[in-house]
C-alpha cells in the first residue's frame, strides 16, 4: 500500500495480532478498516467532518479523497478518514497528540484505538 501523503510503499507493523501501515518517509500511520474491526468489533468511529487547509489526501485503497475529521481530546486532532470506510490516516504529529494524554476524553475515537496506538507509539519521555 502506498502512503497517501508521500506515495511511497509503506511497511506493516503487527502488534497483538493487529496491523498498522507505516510510512518510513513521513511517519504517518494508516489504520485499516479491517484492523479497526478486529480491534473494535462493530463499534463505529464517530467523528465530525471538518474543513481544514491541510492538504487533501486520497485513500490508499479506493482513491477517494479522504474526509478531514475532528477527534481526540476536545475534538482538536484533525485526522483523515475514508468516506467509503476503508480506514483512518494519522499524520505523525496527530498520533503523538492522541497518545500524549490518555486521561483526556477521547472524543469520537474509541478508547481501544487510542490505547492501541499508545502501546505501539509510546509517548516520548513516557513509560
Amino acid at each position: 500500500m502506498k502512503c497517501p501523503a508521500c506515495r511511497v510503499s509503506m511497511y506493516v507493523v503487527e502488534y497483538r495480532r493487529i496491523e498498522l501501515d507505516l510510512c518510513a518517509a513521513c511517519d504517518g500511520v494508516w489504520f485499516d478498516r479491517g484492523e479497526l474491526d478486529l480491534l473494535l468489533g462493530d463499534e463505529p468511529v464517530l467523528a465530525q467532518v471538518a474543513t481544514a487547509d491541510e492538504p487533501t489526501r486520497a485513500c490508499p485503497l479506493c482513491d477517494r479523497p479522504l474526509d478531514k475529521v475532528n477527534i481526540g481530546p476536545g475534538g482538536r486532532v484533525l485526522v483523515d478518514r475514508c468516506p467509503q470506510g476503508c480506514g483512518l490516516w494519522f499524520d505523525r504529529h496527530e498520533v503523538a497528540e492522541l497518545v500524549a494524554d490518555l486521561d483526556d476524553a477521547a472524543g469520537g475515537l474509541p478508547p481501544a484505538v487510542r490505547e492501541f496506538l499508545a502501546e505501539v507509539f509510546p509517548a516520548k519521555g513516557g513509560k
Partner: protein, 400 residues
C-alpha cells in the same frame, strides 16, 4: 434433482438458441448493410466465426482467464486449512465427484465465485476479505452456494451465456463504429442505392443498438434465477440457512468495492461486486436478486429443504415458486437445522486475519522482521529505505 439439472440443460439450450438467433440476425443485417444486397450470408458467416473463436477460447481458457483477471491464487490445504475443510465437506454434501480447486483473491471486499467448464474441473474462489470477515458457519454457507453453482452446472451455462453476449456486443459495436465512419453503403448510395438495402440498413441500425441490450437481458434473466436456486441448494447442503443469510448480510454491508471485477465477470460472484451500497436501481436490473430479499427468504424458511425454500420464496416475494417440481418431490422438507451456533467456540478472527495476510505477504515477497519488543515488521519488496524503525521501541532494523 436430476430434473433440475436437465431443466438447466434445456434452459441452456434455449438461451444459446435465442442468443444465437440474435447473433445471426445481427450478422445478416450487418452483411446486408456493409457488403451490399445479398451480403447477409457473408455477415452471418463473420458473426459465426467471431462467436466460434470466442467460444473456443472460453472453453479452453475461460476459467483461467476469469481467475487471472480476478487475480486469484491457487491455495493448498496448509495455507487455509479451515477453508479447505469446508470445501471438502460441501463437495460431499453436493455429491460432486471431485473437489474443486480452491483459489483466494487478495481483495478487502468480501465476495466469492465459482468457475470452470465442468463440475470435474471447477474452481471456487473467495476473497481475503471474505475469509477475514466471516465465521465458519457463514463461510460454509457461501461455499455451499458456490458448490451449488458447480453442481447445477450454472458455471458452464454462465460461461457460454457470457461469451454469446460478449460476441453480440463486440459485433454490434464494431458495426456501429463502421457506420459512423461512413463505411459500406456510401458507394451504393452514390450509385443510387438498392431499394432493398434501405430496409436492411434500418434493421441493421436498430439491431446494433438493441442486440447488446437484449443479450444482456437474456443473460440477466437466467443468472438471477440461478442465484435463488443456489441459495436453496446451499441451505439444503449445510442444513443451516442462517449461515448464508448472515454471510450475505455481512457481505452486502461491507464498504469495500471489489477491485478486480468487471461487468463481464460480475454475474459469477455471490453478490454483485459492482453494486454500491444504497444503489437501489441495481436491485431491479442487476444480475443478482436483491440481497435483503434473499436474506428474508433464507430466514423465513423454518426448515432447510427445497420445499421450505420454495414456500418461503412464495411468501416473501409473492411470486410463483422458484424450485423445480422434481427437486421439491424428491427432497421433501428437511428437518430444521439443529445447530446451536452460540455453543461453538468463537473463531479467533484475529488469527484468521493474520493467516490470510501471512499467505499474501509470502506471495507478495514481503520480508518479515521480528522485533525484540514484540512487534513484527513486514517489509514490502519495493521498500525505498535501507532500514525500518520499530515504532514501539525505536530499534532501527537494517534491511540490507
Amino acid at each position: 434433482m436430476w430434473e433440475q439439472i436437465a431443466a438447466n440443460r434445456r434452459k441452456s439450450f434455449l438461451l444459446v438458441m435465442s442468443a444465437a438467433l440474435l447473433l445471426g440476425l445481427l450478422g445478416w443485417a450487418g452483411g446486408e448493410y456493409f457488403l451490399g444486397k445479398g451480403g447477409g450470408a457473408g455477415g452471418v458467416l463473420v458473426a459465426l466465426v467471431v462467436w466460434l473463436v470466442m467460444t473456443l477460447a472460453a472453453w479452453f481458457q475461460g476459467d483461467g482467464i476469469m481467475l487471472s483477471v480476478a487475480g486469484a491464487h491457487r491455495v493448498q490445504k496448509d495455507d487455509f486449512p479451515q477453508l479447505f475443510n469446508i470445501v471438502e465437506e460441501m463437495t460431499l454434501a453436493a455429491g460432486l465427484g471431485r473437489m474443486p480447486a480452491v483459489y483466494v483473491i487478495d481483495d478487502p471486499a468480501p465476495n466469492a465465485f465459482a468457475t470452470g467448464r465442468k463440475p470435474e474441473n471447477a474452481a471456487v474462489a473467495v476473497t481475503s476479505g471474505l475469509l477475514r470477515t466471516l465465521d465458519r458457519d457463514e463461510l460454509q454457507g457461501v461455499v455451499a452456494h458456490e458448490m451449488a453453482h458447480v453442481r447445477n452446472r450454472d458455471i458452464q451455462l454462465m460461461l457460454f451465456a457470457g461469451v454469446l453476449a460478449g460476441a453480440i456486443v463486440i459485433l454490434a459495436e464494431t458495426g456501429l463504429r463502421g457506420m459512423w465512419m461512413g463505411g459500406g453503403r456510401s458507394r451504393s448510395r452514390r450509385e443510387g442505392g438498392a431499394d432493398g438495402n434501405g430496409l436492411a440498413a434500418l434493421l441493421a441500425i436498430v439491431l446494433m443498438i438493441l442486440a447488446p441490450i437484449l443479450a444482456q437481458l437474456i443473460y440477466f434473466a437466467v443468472s438471477r434465477r440461478r442465484e435463488y436456486l443456489a441459495d436453496a441448494s446451499a441451505a439444503s447442503f449445510t442444513r443451516y440457512p442462517e449461515g448464508l443469510a448472515s454471510a450475505l448480510e455481512k457481505i452486502s454491508l461491507a464498504p469495500q468495492r471489489l477491485g478486480g471485477a468487471t461487468s463481464a465477470t460480475a454475474p459469477m460472484y455471490i453478490i454483485n461486486p459492482l453494486k454500491r451500497a444504497g444503489q437501489a436501481a441495481a436491485n431491479a436490473t442487476g444480475t443478482h436478486p436483491p440481497i435483503d430479499e434473499r436474506v428474508r427468504i433464507l430466514r423465513a424458511m423454518g426448515g432447510a429443504g427445497f420445499v421450505d425454500y420454495d414456500r418461503s420464496y412464495r411468501e416473501v416475494t409473492g411470486r410463483g415458486g422458484v424450485v423445480p417440481k422434481s427437486a421439491l418431490a424428491g427432497d421433501g422438507a428437511q428437518a430444521p437445522a439443529a445447530r446451536p451456533a452460540p455453543d461453538r467456540p468463537a473463531p479467533s478472527t484475529r488469527e484468521n486475519a493474520r493467516q490470510v495476510d501471512d499467505f499474501f505477504y509470502r506471495k507478495g515477497g514481503y520480508r518479515t522482521v521480528a522485533c525484540a519488543c514484540g512487534t513484527t515488521l513486514r517489509i514490502p519488496p519495493d521498500f525505498a529505505t535501507p532500514s525500518a524503525k520499530c515504532p514501539r521501541c525505536g530499534t532501527m532494523h537494517d534491511l540490507r
